[in-house]
């Protein structure tokens, strides 16, 4: 029996398909490498001019062309730390409530709402921040903190509302979905046998969480927190809109500040001289390196946790 079907032969179809998908995959890889390269290349004038001094100098003066990034680094780190401080307990609470403590009927709707939080665009957080959060912080939060902890310089000074504290609060809201969703996944991977073991020796649900789930999921939760920290460090719009954009290092959390991303957002299109632009590029490069390092660390932690969870299951 011979093959009498008039098949069409397109010999180049498969080789072309394979090579074009390969090309596009490497294209994505290449673009990412190019990103690091370009940022590096464009920051060269600033790196050559200021060296390491760039990261320790607090002067930021476009007129005299003297640039130091310390106020921005300080602002980025402090605002992110505030965010982590608020977001971690809240996210863990949400994650535990969603995976272990809450009644079944509430879990899905609650989870949906938390996911919505992640879908809101940054600029809308900023808008809400300016007109709702900042007045609230000025009227209630800052007076309260000043009354309770006013003995410490962190909580002294004029209360503008606009400033480091508001930036930290808004960041915390924005990173809660990241931390809580990964933590929830981590908690759901705690082997049932371990949990049952704790119940079998008479532990209450909370004791089981404290003695089994939290220690078991530690590396995964830590990864989630670092991933959240990465988000907070790089967040731009909402922070820019509420932090006040003043390149000073003030001890008080009530005072306006500036972050690495917000200074780029504010000044990049006005950077007329090449050194000015290069300095902003270098801040971008530093931000890139920082977030890359944190992301890689976080992913390694989460991966190692998944590896462990798979191991105990099998």
């Amino acid at each position: 029996m011979t093959n009498e079907i008039p098949f069409k032969k397109i010999w180049w179809e498969d080789p072309l398909f394979k090579s074009s998908t390969a090309f596009l995959a490497w294209f994505v890889f290449g673009l990412s490498v190019l990103l690091v390269f370009i940022l590096g290349k464009f920051s060269l004038p600033s790196i050559a001019q200021f060296g390491l001094h760039f990261f320790s100098s607090t002067e930021w003066n476009p007129v005299t062309e003297n640039f130091g990034a310390l106020p921005f680094i300080y602002g980025t780190i402090v605002s992110s730390l505030i965010a982590i401080l608020i977001a971690v307990p809240l996210s863990l609470g949400v994650a535990l409530y969603l995976s272990e403590l809450g009644p079944m009927w509430i879990r899905n709707p609650l989870n949906f709402l938390i996911e919505l939080l992640a879908a809101i665009p940054s600029v809308i957080y900023g808008l809400w921040g300016i007109f709702v959060l900042v007045p609230f912080v000025r009227k209630y939060v800052e007076p309260f903190l000043s009354a309770c902890f006013g003995f410490h310089p962190l909580f002294q000074g004029p209360m503008y509302g606009i400033g480091m504290l508001s930036a930290g609060i808004i960041l915390s809201i924005m990173i809660i979905p990241t931390i809580s969703s990964i933590s929830r996944e981590v908690f759901s991977l705690v082997p049932a046998s371990l949990k049952e073991g704790a119940f079998a020796i008479g532990a209450t649900r909370w004791e089981m969480i404290r003695l089994v789930m939290l220690p078991y999921g530690r590396s995964g939760v830590l990864g989630a927190v670092i991933l959240g920290l990465g988000r907070a460090l790089g967040e731009t719009m909402a922070v820019t809109m509420v932090i006040g954009n003043r390149p000073d290092i003030a001890i008080s959390l009530f005072a306006p500040a500036h972050t690495m991303s917000s200074v780029i957002a504010n000044e990049f299109s006005e950077a007329t001289t090449s050194l000015y632009a290069a300095s902003l590029m270098e801040i971008g490069l530093a931000l890139l390196v920082l977030t890359l390092a944190l992301n890689i660390l976080a992913r390694m932690l989460v991966w190692s946790f998944y590896g462990k969870a798979k191991g105990t299951r099998a």
Partner: protein, 280 residues
């Protein structure tokens, strides 16, 4: 040893505390929605959709150009990023060895963690500087670059779910690798890929930072690919930080429109997965 009663009380208190945390998290969400909806609805009108912005300080006008601009920017971003993401994802699962696949996967994961402002600066250096002009295409490039990791990883995860026997079934019929991938593998996982992609699109539609130095914004009507173009998030940003009450009012209206766009995309994406196929 703590007494039984104390341990039970502790359990109750901690459960209550976690519940309180969950509620505390929801409060900002409710507040944001309440304000965007009430302030947005009272500020929005027909002019908002049909008029261009008025000169500084003059009341009235709308964001017609920004709405069209956002639609154009997002469509162009999808146009280049979705094919690149899907085909790169296909390469990872169908052709690449484990080493190369994890390299690409790692690249995509790292890419998704890069701050959007850095992507904006990159697009500026790569496209705006050589072309000597802010432009629609540079904005679309930046947004697309942010979309790629989502599309790529979704495609990878979805294609991995396609049973090997389905591929073998097609190849055993003498169907080419290309046709097998397109008509059998991808068409089977399409709903999942659409869901993931639309969620990514919803995210980039609201992005502002990558557009600051690329699309830049434009107060007049333009759909020219090589000129600055208005975008809804940019316009909201500019109006929100302005001292004029009428502009702030329009910022809320813009926020309402933007949030609707984002949520419609999210809801549509979820409904795409409702169509489920069972593999056997």
């Amino acid at each position: 040893m703590k007494s039984h009663l104390r341990r039970r009380a502790e359990n109750k208190i901690m459960t209550g505390l976690m519940f309180l945390f969950a509620i505390l998290t929801i409060i900002p969400l409710i507040s944001i929605f309440a304000f965007v909806i009430t302030k947005g609805v009272t500020s929005i009108n027909l002019d908002f959709f049909t008029h261009l912005p008025k000169p500084v300080g003059e009341p009235g006008g709308g964001m017609a150009n920004a709405i069209v601009g956002t639609l154009l920017l997002v469509s162009l971003a999808c146009l280049w990023a979705i094919p690149v993401g899907i085909l790169a994802g296909v390469y990872m699962v169908e052709f690449a060895g484990p080493r190369i696949a994890s390299t690409i996967r790692f690249t995509a994961d790292v890419l998704s963690g890069i701050p959007s402002i850095v992507i904006g600066v990159f697009a500026y250096s790569l496209m705006v500087l050589p072309m000597r002009s802010f432009s629609t295409i540079s904005g679309a490039f930046a947004l697309g670059f942010m979309l790629i990791p989502t599309v790529l990883r979704t495609t990878e995860e979805m294609i991995k779910l396609v049973p090997q026997t389905l591929r073998e079934g097609a190849l055993a019929l003498g169907i080419s690798r290309f046709k097998t991938t397109i008509h059998i593998v991808l068409s089977t996982t399409l709903p999942g890929i659409i869901t993931g992609t639309l969620l990514g699109v919803a995210r980039i539609a609201g992005e502002t930072a990558p557009l600051l130095f690329t699309a830049f914004g434009n107060r007049v009507w333009s759909t020219n690919l090589f000129e600055p173009i208005a975008a809804l998030p940019l316009q909201i940003f500019v109006y929100a930080i302005s001292p004029f009450e009428d502009w702030q009012r329009q910022a809320w209206a813009g926020a309402l429109v933007l949030i609707m766009m984002v949520f419609v995309l999210s809801v549509v994406s979820r409904s795409a997965t409702k169509r489920k196929y069972s593999f056997s």
